[in-house]
């Protein structure tokens, strides 16, 4: 069976043939499975935003292809349009795209474009609203009267209501305080579990990515530098730092511990750190 999503030798150049030509993606290949949570990291200009837009057909590859269930998303117009609905894209600061008079209408915009009937649209709007923890009473309110955090959630609900099989989010927690960040992350993971959807999250926050994702793709200079489980990726801490990336603080702590001579392997989440240190003390974690 063909993989859920396959990217084959994807290359994208901007301003080709002019002195400003630069390669945004250079021969990028990977596959995604259903239900995976992938974290994408890379500094600004590493090609990650361009990659995102390729996956749902907003950009057309210069060469290479994107296959969804084995079908090229650019095969014909209908397939490209369907891809927009099967692959949901949440841009950075999505609250700046709200435009309807009510929250309900704004969340319904996507499903309406899909050509669904009124009953199905209603079901999806209500389900998406609940999925981001918003109260039904807010549906009749103007989105512009909401707080910043609520607007963000309405915008994410607008994409969830299309029930995409692959949900891509660019910095969904940017500008939120720790409590707000935690909530958004839990809604995203909740959606994955409820729909067995694939999640791809672009983030600068290494801590968040390391904790949420079961696989990391590291972009550097238009190419994939690493594509592996977090523990394997963070083993290359020095290279990550050279690429201008942060590594999780706890990984740094453990690198230092190792340097000081303690027999520990790098970790990247608090849970792992606690377990490792408890083991070292010679007690169990629930002592």
């Amino acid at each position: 069976m063909a993989p859920f999503l396959e990217v084959k030798n994807l290359t994208q150049k901007y301003s080709a043939g002019t002195p400003f030509e630069h390669t945004a993606l250079d021969d990028v290949s990977f596959t995604l499975d259903r239900g995976e949570f992938i974290g994408v990291i890379g500094h600004t200009g590493s090609g990650k935003s361009t990659l995102m837009q390729h996956l749902n057909g907003l950009l057309k590859p210069d060469s290479g292809s994107v296959l969804l269930d084995g079908t090229d998303i650019w095969q014909d117009k209908k397939t490209t349009r369907q891809t927009r609905f099967r692959v949901g894209l949440v841009f950075q600061y999505p609250e700046y795209q709200l435009f309807e008079e009510t929250v309900y209408k704004d969340i319904a915009f996507g499903p309406k474009n899909m050509g669904l009937d009124a009953a199905e649209i209603d079901r999806r709007v209500r389900e998406a609203t609940a999925a981001v923890g918003l109260d039904d009473a807010l549906l009749t309110v103007s989105p512009f009267d909401l707080s910043g955090g609520q607007k963000r959630r309405v915008a994410i609900a607008g994409v969830l209501a299309m029930e995409p099989e692959l949900l891509i989010l660019d910095e969904p927690t940017a500008g939120l305080d720790p409590a707000g960040r935690e909530e958004i992350l839990s809604y995203i993971d909740g959606y994955r579990k409820a729909k067995h959807a694939t999640i791809m999250m672009v983030s600068h926050s290494m801590g968040d990515v390391a904790r949420m994702a079961d696989r990391l793709i590291v972009m550097n200079r238009a190419r994939i530098a690493f594509d592996a489980a977090p523990e394997q990726v963070f083993r290359h801490a020095d290279e990550l730092i050279k690429m201008g990336l942060d590594i999780p603080v706890l990984t740094r702590v453990f690198m230092k511990l190792k340097e000081l001579g303690l027999p520990v392997e790098p970790v990247y989440t608090e849970k792992q750190a606690v377990a490792a240190l408890c083991a070292l003390r010679g007690g169990s974690a629930d002592a």
Binding site: S15, F99, N113
Partner: protein, 268 residues
């Protein structure tokens, strides 16, 4: 992509023309246009042409760029040409069929009109190619400053122009982003009847306006924080200075106008 739209035609450079005071360039351009409209003969057009060609040569701007800039205006040129060609009365009939008559006078007149418009546009291009928008705004503000006496808000107008220039690229980028985001939600901007297409713009225009207002509000606060209180008491870092080259330019401009006037008085 919208991002590829280039705004402002400024070609940075170090030539004498680039370094002239923007006020000089504006005034000489006005003089040049006056000369162009006073010119009635081959000889006087020749004088104006030599002046322009010389200026372009000094500026070092490739002639090709002027042709490129001319492209959107071809329609106006052709239209003017045809109008003059067909509707000029004259003695020497060249072609005559059905109701259409083309006379030698018509051909000459059409040629002159096209040539005049070409010279006019090229001269204006030379100004915008060699002067940064901000220098141009400064120059205009300085030239118009006497109008403050009749309560014309000259400083405010030039400040508005500056801010518009500053924010056009930002808003274009923003439009691009909003368009992508709405496309990702299945918005369709490319098909449908005219009304549908117009309606499809709502999801772009509403967020764009809201964002523009938010930006304007934040910018106003930021400007206040930086002690902005209008034009009174405000000074400039870059002062406009007339140097010897500016005076030579005025002289050259005056010579051209004088030459055209003299030729005109001889009926040329």
């Amino acid at each position: 992509m919208l991002k590829d739209v280039t705004l402002g035609q400024y070609f940075p450079g170090k030539s004498v023309i680039h370094r002239l005071d923007p006020r000089t360039k504006l005034l000489v351009l006005i003089g040049y246009i006056v000369a162009l409209f006073l010119a009635v003969s081959w000889a006087s057009y020749g004088v104006v042409f030599v002046f322009l060609a010389g200026s372009i040569a000094i500026s070092g701007i490739p002639v090709k760029s002027f042709f490129k800039g001319m492209k959107p205006l071809i329609f106006i040129l052709v239209f003017t040409g045809i109008l003059n060609l067909f509707f000029t009365q004259g003695e020497t009939v060249l072609v005559h069929f059905w109701k259409i008559t083309i006379t030698l006078e018509g051909v000459i007149r059409a040629f002159f009109m096209i040539f005049r418009i070409l010279l006019l546009i090229t001269g204006t291009f030379l100004l915008t190619y060699t002067t940064s928008p901000i220098a141009l705004t400064d120059g205009l503000e300085s030239l118009l400053s006497p109008l403050k006496k009749i309560k014309l808000p000259v400083h405010e107008l030039s400040m508005m122009m500056c801010i518009a220039l500053r924010f056009i690229p930002t808003l274009i980028e923003e439009t691009d982003k909003i368009m992508s985001a709405q496309k990702a939600r299945g918005a369709d901007f490319e098909s449908g009847k005219l009304m549908q297409r117009v309606r499809a713009l709502v999801p772009i225009l509403v967020p764009l306006f809201i964002s523009a207002f938010r930006r304007a509000d934040e910018l106003a606060t930021a400007m206040e924080c930086r002690c902005y209180q209008g034009g009174d008491g405000r000074t400039k870092m870059k002062l406009l200075h007339m140097r010897s080259w500016d005076y030579y330019s005025f002289l050259a401009g005056a010579v051209v106008i004088a030459a055209v006037c003299v030729l005109r008085s001889f009926g040329l």
